[in-house]
Symmetry: C2
Subunit: 327 residues, 2 copies
């Protein structure tokens, strides 16, 4: 068994077209193969505002599958530690024996999450996007904008975050790394009303985006909510959009934005909600006109973890890195 | 983070009174503390007759908690590999950061499973047990008999296994290691009718033990069934015993022997089923007379994993072993 560090993974896996294709392949397999993806396992550590999620998916036809631990401990920053952490374990499909452990501290999760955002924009945003918006100014907000740049030639970026200093820092960094103009907005409303694509990346527990802010041609990727108590999108938004997309419906109605829309009766079993894999595989169409208003709810899936872990393992095999542990 | 190997763990953790106490502490915490123990996560790999279970439990008040992967890939023996495998990851309760990985290949699971068997016998078997029986001749059958020897002064051991060669090998090994007479029986019935304690350790999918075989004073520990499709005990046995015990009721009615008894209507929500933690903590009594017929259904719990992992980590800390990985 080989152990790979965060540094080795960061030098090997990058948020690029190739990785977006890899994650597309993961979503497609949900539609075309008998994927085993059990519900997320979750352990809460309330004393330290901590949570650990465990995800996995077995995709038939591959040599391995991944089991991923990801944690958020929200008192860590007070100790000078990042709140997020994690690792992946890659098991042999044939024997169940662990082939590799990725001590990535959440890096692969960041990349595969951003890649899902890129896929959402690729299929659901207008072809021509001049102005994109992002709500939230954390690490994943940065990843999402880098991902968006891979699939759309954005010229201007609008950003809103509750902390103005962090928003300004985001502006500085993103103008440099993406080479686009970034404007810090004073409200989320300003971002949404003036953007053609908006990505929400916050851990909000009360809805931010209101239906009155929607406008023809808008696409929203809601990626922040991945737990029952999180919500970024007002449920009424779902009755005002033309098309609803998501990563995995059964998970989104439990943990994502759809969860609240179902609770409010805005979404029922009869509501048409199309999964990413159904569009990528060509079974359903994505955006059908420049006027449609669309939304995509992302909660993060084990199939993304297995897809990126398989790609990382393949790349790493050809390098002389990693530490072998003989047991 | 430190990685420990199977060899290091086998040199450190032994199936003894101390470990039985540790596992008792785990069960007790289920009753006395707000333990977080999510349902088992399971991934099936039908192409290779494989299954991976993930268990975890967070016990408030301890520095760490464990997440355990355990796998059974039943074509492995054809390749000369053990079917069972596994590892544990010990996370800091305060930060979620992994402190240690135990590459134990299932050793700690074997020990904590056997310890639960010892606890079952300690509280539910008669004080004086001359003859014990075991159904099954695999690795866990051996562990269970070693565990039983820790809590009862058995003089004779009856064993039944479908494979006579393996049963004879079991006899040879156990006579040597336990110093008791072992008799290979030609039927499970012979074992049950002539033993005061019986432990079932098979992956049977059809019931073995029948109610007609029960007799006053008998205690049965049913540890084999830990999945919906497994069953060692005929459901009618549950209507013929005086007391029913189990590790965790909610899990046993889903995955254990209780599952089938519930399906058959033999056990209802009103049936008195007492959990190990309730007895160990003194809230309920174990065996109350020499005539009672008792049964205990064990499915294996995350709290046992966290308890043994914490004990192992503490022991290992004082030794100059393990491989540190800097990340």
């Amino acid at each position: 068994m080989i152990i790979y560090t965060e540094k080795e993974l960061k030098e090997t896996i990058h948020l690029n077209q190739q990785i977006i294709k890899v994650i597309e392949g993961g979503f497609t397999s949900l539609v075309t193969k008998k994927v085993q993806m059990p519900p997320i396992m979750r352990i809460d550590v309330p004393e330290f505002q901590g949570e650990v999620d465990i995800k996995s998916a077995y995709i038939p036809g591959y040599d391995q599958f991944a089991i991923k631990l990801s944690s958020g401990f929200f008192l860590n920053p007070e100790r000078g530690l990042p709140s997020g952490n994690g690792m992946m374990i890659l098991l042999s499909t044939e024997t169940g024996i662990p082939d590799a452990i990725f001590l990535d501290n959440g890096y692969l999760t960041d990349v595969r999450t951003a890649a899902a955002g890129a896929i959402s924009a690729k299929y659901f945003a207008k072809e021509e996007v001049k102005t994109a918006g992002v709500i939230g100014v954390g690490s994943q907000a940065r990843f999402q904008m880098k991902a968006l740049k891979q699939v759309r030639s954005i010229r201007k970026l609008l950003v809103y975050g509750r902390n103005e200093n962090k928003a300004n820092l985001f502006k500085q960094e993103m103008e440099k790394s993406l080479g686009v103009e970034v404007k810090v907005c004073s409200t989320a409303e300003e971002v949404v009303k003036n953007s053609e694509v908006v990505v929400t990346t916050t851990p909000a527990e009360k809805p931010i985006i209101q239906k009155e802010w929607l406008h023809p041609g808008l696409h929203i990727t809601a990626m922040g909510s991945d737990a029952e108590y999180k919500q970024e999108i007002d449920s009424k938004v779902f009755s005002s959009v033309d098309r609803i997309f998501c990563d995995v419906r059964s998970q989104c109605v439990r943990l994502g934005e759809l969860h609240h829309a179902v609770d409010q009766g805005v979404i029922t079993d009869q509501t048409e909600v199309t999964e990413l894999g159904q569009v990528i595989s060509g079974k359903y169409q994505g955006r059908q006109s420049n006027e449609e208003i669309t939304i995509c709810d992302l909660t993060g899936t084990g199939v993304q973890d297995t897809a990126i872990a398989l790609a990382a393992y393949q790349e790493l095999q050809s390098k002389a890195v990693g530490k072998e542990i003989k047991n």
